[in-house]
Assembly symmetry: C2
Homo-oligomer: 554 residues x 2
């Protein structure tokens, strides 16, 4: 979409002129939506009418300015690990600022993410199941040479077209190719690591030396068995600063200097400072803003140089405290700008906790079974809160099903920007504005397709969840679980299972049939690290190796 | 103690005269207390001085009247099954009144009960580990011929001696012998079932016929194999009404009428009405009151004639709704009396959920492992809230360890009645008034001895919990768990385990040594059903059988 981006001023005017009754083709949703729409069209239309009036009133109260959006996406925090003082006490640490924020918010108990970082981020950005853009799994080891396709229309692009100023700070994890960079996906500015925490935390010479990440101190490989120097790659690109329309710059890149924890810490400290600076800058402008703050903390793979002061003492739990303090600062900064009331703040996690890091992380299995990487509730059900003072009722709770990609469509609606959502593809995100504004029971989703990578592993309808015996395949004895009674998904139902054994495969069939009309995008490949101005010599050497290795497979 | 009970007026005067500096011998606690006392005596004494001043101020504000106490003890509700709107949504039902009450209260995250009903109730009543009075396990099948010994000094007796009016409504479960009756244990009046829900729910001809309690409809025993008609006893005593100093009366006893669910429902409806009537009556008096409301609901072993309207649909969950509505009514009634501000209200559960009733009950394993009947956290860690408007800070949370028997000693202190706690025995209950009034971090307990019946199964110190390999025996490889990190108690610690492998056995040794000086009471046996005026003919027949059966063993 970068080639389509007109100036924000022009688009702001355009947006304003088409806000009221823009006659656009309806968004193409997944088949299940139409089954619900047919049954609720009238009620939803009348709800939407009231909502549009309410939103207009809110705009009027804010001098015509649409609401700002601050989106905080937290990495790998399991359901129950934040926002609840009782569970805080159970776990031996506290998240007082997040708890206080939750009290000012609508809290969801059925927000579904994808099972891992990259696809959840793609879901929020594109409003679509990540399988549709082939953003299947988190890429860990650089260089990747793949990433988010330029033709995906991100929420940042949608808001940008509607006149928003946009900025991204923190974890991005959408690939290391030029078109995938935030500044080529709708953000005016971005400061982000090109890869994920792994590169800084457990793929550095320092961590390889001490192996504290795997809870083992000093376990070196016997040197004369180390035949492949690229098994442990080095020279990858670290933090990147970017401005739309310009070449990106690697931050803190010192040729010849090996990566270490100090760099990781410095980067995180920098994001903390930057997000508040950017917030102050954006809040002072005439246009509304969309600010993504997607911190890398609490994920933290080593105990070296860490402060351990909680009773829990897990490596990630200690960083939760850090995150919580920092979010407290961020919320205070927002208040100070005077923009608090006209800012929608979303705080949510991107997936369940990472099993491999337990118990060292300090996280634990809480009420659900499953972890990051699987489609059990523990993998995909996450804490989520939305605050919008005086518009969304504070201290309320919703048990409706909502998905990460719904945030795309919903925020676009709130920003009066839904006319910029593309009409030529399936958009899985539903408009959940009524749920936000009217609360519990006003959700518009009773279904969910839960993919792990390319594989459809589970499908949800109401409180019932089918585990596909083989990915995407009905099988005969479809196990169906009642999520209210069976939080651990261990006791398949008899009668409901036998009845829904017809309904779930029908959902699958409809879902797959629509995919024939709107096929999933193939993987997007390109030269890694293109578009970065200041590549270091070791990065160039890494690219050389990468190209050789690729050739070896041809 | 019944023989020692002087008139309440006299004692009220006595209490008042000795309140300020009553020079009584200190209470004998378990050995671990003195280890803490030695380290904190000065701080605790100065805290207590401030607390006494505070309590005096509160009394003064209330015209010299000490606070009323309403103690709601809920049966078999697992940690997380009430009081939390997010977890409500996760489970598909709501407890809005209990949630609202929790917001007005101090909420505990480490309240420990005993693993089952009878011992938890004994713990609260006596302020002692129930093993000390040989109240080991819930007795299910009547007649029992055992129960709480008259020489145990219950919190009702303590408060009675200090001039309180006392009443008990609901589940009692302290045995069917005369001395064990609430009105012989310090309560002026009582209305209670002599046994537990089992007798009404799954030991009736009606339930035996339909077997819905075990989720099987109609599974009769083949008649010619039914050789022993007393395998399924009948004629037991049902609900009992009692007034201190008088013979008790069985309520609704119709000779020849078999028990049915209608009787169970009628009894519960009656308790609901009675508790509000009694509350109104007690609140209108000059003396403060101690009112126990220990409902039988939500425990409910059949689906027959039940209304199922929640999304969860479990037999107990449906009754949770009923319980919640009723507690809402009770709290509203308290407010209406005008006594709300001067009433300490305790709401807690008596142990974890009953595993055998899952998933039919609708309950589930939440954050902990284990259930009613074991000493894993799931069995003994319960939801607990204490409200005292303007004295205990509302909407606060404490992670300190507190035990059910601490409520005895603490409530006695709050009522200025601790001088009536006996000095001739070990009292396990610690004075946790500072925790209640000063909040998180002001607890006085860092240890717990977790018994299942007569067997010491686990011992807790801070966040560490040792599972005794054989009950009450150190063994060599003592598994020690970190409760903050390992909620399911599955990963024994290495270093801490090796260090505390010395400390935990020392605790055990001290605990057992003190038992030599203060031995546990042997079982208290007596004629069942003595002291009830209107025994039915079938009850007399049952007693006859009981006496014959006992003789068969002599």
């Amino acid at each position: 979409m970068t080639e389509l981006r007109p100036s924000s001023i022009l688009l702001g005017a355009l947006a304003a002129s088409t806000l009221a009754g823009a006659e656009t083709k309806p968004i193409q949703h997944d088949a299940e939506h139409y089954i619900l729409l047919e049954q609720h069209a009238e009620r939803w239309a009348s709800e939407d009418e009231v909502i549009q009036k309410k939103l207009a009133e809110v705009r009027e109260k804010n001098g015509g300015k649409r609401p700002n959006i601050l989106f905080v996406l937290i990495d790998d925090v399991g359901f129950g690990e934040m926002g609840d003082p009782v569970l805080n006490h159970v776990r031996g640490y506290t998240t007082p600022n997040i708890n206080a924020f939750a009290r000012e918010s609508l809290t969801f108990s059925r927000m579904y993410s994808e099972p891992t970082c990259t696809p959840t981020r793609t879901a929020i950005l594109t409003g679509r199941l990540p399988v549709r853009s082939h953003m299947l799994e988190p890429k860990i080891v650089p260089p990747e040479g793949t990433g988010l396709n330029k033709d995906e229309v991100t929420i940042a692009e949608v808001l940008k077209m509607a006149g928003y100023n946009t900025a991204h700070i923190g974890k991005w994890h959408q690939g290391d190719i030029e078109q995938a960079m935030p500044t080529n996906q709708g953000f005016d500015t971005a400061s982000f690591p090109l890869h994920n925490q792994a590169t800084f935390n457990f793929m550095t010479p320092e961590s390889e030396d001490d192996r504290l990440a795997d809870n083992v101190k000093v376990r070196k490989t016997i040197p004369h068995y180390r035949m492949d120097k690229n098994f442990r790659p080095a020279g990858w690109v670290l933090g990147v600063d970017a401005v739309a329309g310009e070449k990106a710059q690697e931050w803190g890149a010192e040729p010849g200097k090996p990566l270490d924890y100090a760099y990781y810490d410095a980067l995180n400290e920098r994001y903390k400072t930057q997000v508040i600076e950017r917030l102050n800058e954006l809040a002072s402008k005439d246009e509304p803003f969309f600010l993504n703050y997607w911190p890398q903390i609490p994920v933290n793979f080593t105990r070296r140089n860490r402060e351990f002061i909680t009773a829990n003492g897990g490596t990630w739990v200690e960083s939760m405290k850090d995150l919580d303090t920092h979010l407290g600062d961020l919320f205070a900064a927002l208040k100070k700008t005077g923009a608090e009331e006209n800012t929608v703040v979303v705080v949510m996690s991107d997936n369940g906790p990472m099993m491999q890091a337990m118990p060292e992380s300090g996280y634990s299995q809480m009420v659900f079974r499953g972890f990051k990487g699987d489609t059990l509730e523990g993998g995909i059900r996450v804490n989520a809160y939305v605050r919008w003072p005086k518009v969304i009722a504070a201290d309320t709770f919703a048990g409706d099903i909502i998905a990460a990609y719904d945030m795309h469509t919903t925020l676009a609606t709130i920003a009066q920007a839904d006319q910029y959502i593309p009409r030529d593809r399936v958009v899985d995100g539903l408009n959940q504005t009524s749920l936000l504004l009217n609360g519990d029971g006003y959700g518009r989703r009773d279904y969910l397709f839960a993919y792990e990578g390319a594989h459809l592993q589970a499908t949800i309808k109401e409180q019932f969840k089918a585990h596909w015996p083989a990915p995407g395949s009905p099988g005969f004895a479809l196990p169906v679980y009642d999520l209210y009674r069976d939080l651990k998904e261990t006791k398949p139902l008899l009668a409901t299972g036998m009845w829904t054994v017809a309904y779930f495969p029908d959902m699958l069939e409809r879902h797959m049939a629509l995919k024939k009309k709107f096929p999933d995008r193939p993987e997007t490949s390109a030269e890694p690290y293109a578009g970065i101005a200041n590549l270091r010599p070791e990065t160039k050497a890494l690219l050389e190796y990468y190209n050789k290795a690729r050739k070896a497979a041809e």
